[in-house]
């Protein structure tokens, strides 16, 4: 097995941190509205993603509300590294 893709890694972190089933993790899923993330879980999710990819999100990227937007933010942050 090779390294997980960015998408696979983000989905894995989301499943673990937000404690939701993988089937609910769609690009359009709203982190709080659809996945029920609490404010503490959101913070934990952001930090876990940043630590995994060794990146820092910009203030604009931190406004991501849906999982697909998080994927885009990760790709942009990784490209800046």
């Amino acid at each position: 097995m090779g390294e997980p893709t960015t998408r696979e890694a983000v989905l894995h972190i989301a499943e673990e941190v937000l404690e939701v089933e993988a089937a609910r993790l769609t690009d359009g899923a709203h982190l709080t509205g659809d996945l029920g993330a609490t404010s503490l879980q959101l913070l934990d999710f952001v930090v876990a993603v940043e630590r995994h990819f060794r990146v820092r999100f910009t203030a604009e990227e931190l406004k991501a509300e849906r999982l697909g937007q998080v994927m885009q933010a990760v790709e942009a942050a990784v490209a800046r590294r």
């Binding site: 673990e16 941190v17 404690e19 503490l40 913070l43 934990d44 930090v47 940043e50 630590r51």
Partner: protein, 388 residues
Amino acid sequence: MSAPAAIVTGWGTVSPFGVGRAALAEALWRGATAFAARTFTTEHDLPPIELWSASIPAFDPAAILGKKGLRGMSREALLWAVAAADALDDAALAAGGVDPEAAGVVVGSARPGLDDYLGFHLDAQVWGPDRVRPVQGPNTGLNAAASHATIRLGWRAVNTTLCAGLCSGLDAVAHAAGLIHEGAAEVILAGGVDALGYFSARQLKAEGSWSHRAPRPYDRRRDGAVPGEGAVALVLESERHAAARGARIRGRLTAFEQGFHLGLGEAAARLAGWLGRTRATAAIGSASGDRLLDAAEGRACAAAPGLPVAAVKGAAGEWHGGSGALQLATALEAIERRALPPTAALEELDPELPLSASPAPREIDPARIALPAIDPAGHLSFMIAGPP
């Protein structure tokens, strides 16, 4: 200090022998030991720590507690929650079947929050304060295990952690008994827990003086204790509450004593007095293989000639804050079996210790089982457990 009598209607554990009462009791009475080399690491650039210890084997906490909320729990909070679930099962008591204003949690722990405190602050120092794990923050407090449990159970009467070294577990149970007697609660989950993590392993390793084989409590050639980890939770109830629900009573706690700022000689003398006055019929000792602590406990037994004694730390290791509760749980099992477990790994009883210990199980009169705990910092606790 003396505490009023109390009743225990259930106990539960996660131990180096696995999850649950049956795994621990079966191993103790079989004379099994649980020691192995374990390597502790961190995400940081720090050397791995190898520690000869009694560690809890991997298990799936989600299968016991459900997945929700596990990520935010420290290891000790997780261990305590698993032991608590096992204890409630033993007591046939549903968390929701109790008035939440009359139920609470009292935990004894010798180093609560240590691993999370140091890990959290090291993350902040190395990676910056914006890279710490937010959910780890609450686990850096001393009261994390008790707080996670009360939140999960929805119990609101008591939420307390006592830190008294090797006496923490017994002191937590005694404190809970007092609270029930005062009417502050009808039901309390009380006991002890300590977990092994990278930083605690590093601290323990630095302390040295540990044995590198199975420890031999009371043995002539004993060469030190071996650190371990585990949790024991006990359900204490008021007589009225237990009777109202027809609960099975596992045991009664009929005496509790404490001493502070004692040298080992003074602790031994104090303990001897309590053993004699309570007319103990057996004892689950706190001996761990430590040359001085075992000797102090052994000398005290001169006050009760022929007293059958067993030491479970030779099987399960030194759990520090969890040890007293482990001794009490073993006593409750001994009451049911009317037998003491073996003192595992005992080869040749130290002829200077006037006590009766054996590497085999022994029948006893379980009327009054003594539970001493001596902490090297000068704290001494003592409890008597007896049948229903």
